[in-house]
């Protein structure tokens, strides 16, 4: 990061950060008990990654 406004993330880093942040919010808003929250956060995070990477590979043949 080179000063504010220079935050450079790779595609995968952006995906990881986005998935982690949104999964955290979903877990806390969607579930009440701590145990349920943790499992929901992990499951949501996993699905974000799988779907994101899956769509990435689906688009790969059209990328060039």
């Amino acid at each position: 990061m080179t000063g504010f406004g220079g935050l450079m993330l790779s595609h995968f880093q952006a995906l990881l950060l986005f998935a982690a942040i949104i999964s955290l919010a979903f877990g806390f808003l969607g579930r009440r008990r701590p145990k349920d929250r943790i499992s929901y956060i992990l499951w949501s995070f996993f699905l974000f990654l799988v779907v994101g990477i899956g769509i990435g590979w689906l688009m790969y043949p059209f990328s060039r």
């Binding site: 504010f4 406004g5 935050l7 993330l9 986005f18 942040i21 949104i22 955290l24 919010a25």
Partner: protein, 144 residues
């Protein structure tokens, strides 16, 4: 003489009893508070964990989105997509002005990073609207 009145079956409560008017107004006020300052709607209902998470998550999305030089849309958009982006960005409430203040150098969507930043900012707004709706429903007693 005994009382021969038949015992009637207990009256079943309605499935979703309408909330009293004052409660509706209170819930609406909480939703607006939650929209204006992310997490405030939950904080006022003493949902500490949710309040903190909403505040931090929306704040992080805004800071990262602006840091990646995403577009913070204004009311003077060129097309319908700009207007939609503006509505989404406004969903962050007061954090919209934080994003405007942080992004002094303007957006840079010539790289993927800037585009991702735009999505981060829009997601922050939509997520905050979702949280405000959750605070509204919780205040009405629908869910928590």
């Amino acid at each position: 003489m005994t009382d021969e009145t038949p015992v009637s079956a207990p009256e079943e409560p309605p499935i979703a009893a309408p909330a009293p008017r004052s409660r509706q107004d209170y819930a609406l006020a909480l939703a607006i508070a939650g929209w204006f300052l992310p997490g405030l709607g939950h904080l006022l209902q003493r949902m500490w964990g949710r309040a903190l998470v909403v505040f931090v998550v929306v704040g992080m999305l805004v800071v990262v989105g602006a840091g990646m030089r995403g577009t913070v849309f204004t009311a003077h958009g060129n097309d319908a997509f700009d207007t939609l982006g503006y509505v989404a960005d406004l969903g962050t409430g007061s954090f919209y002005f934080v994003a405007r203040a942080l992004e002094r150098t303007g957006p840079d969507t010539s790289h993927a990073n800037g585009d991702y930043g735009t999505r981060f900012l829009a997601t922050a707004g939509v997520l905050n609207l979702l949280a405000a709706l959750h605070a509204f429903e919780a205040a009405r007693g629908r869910k928590a």
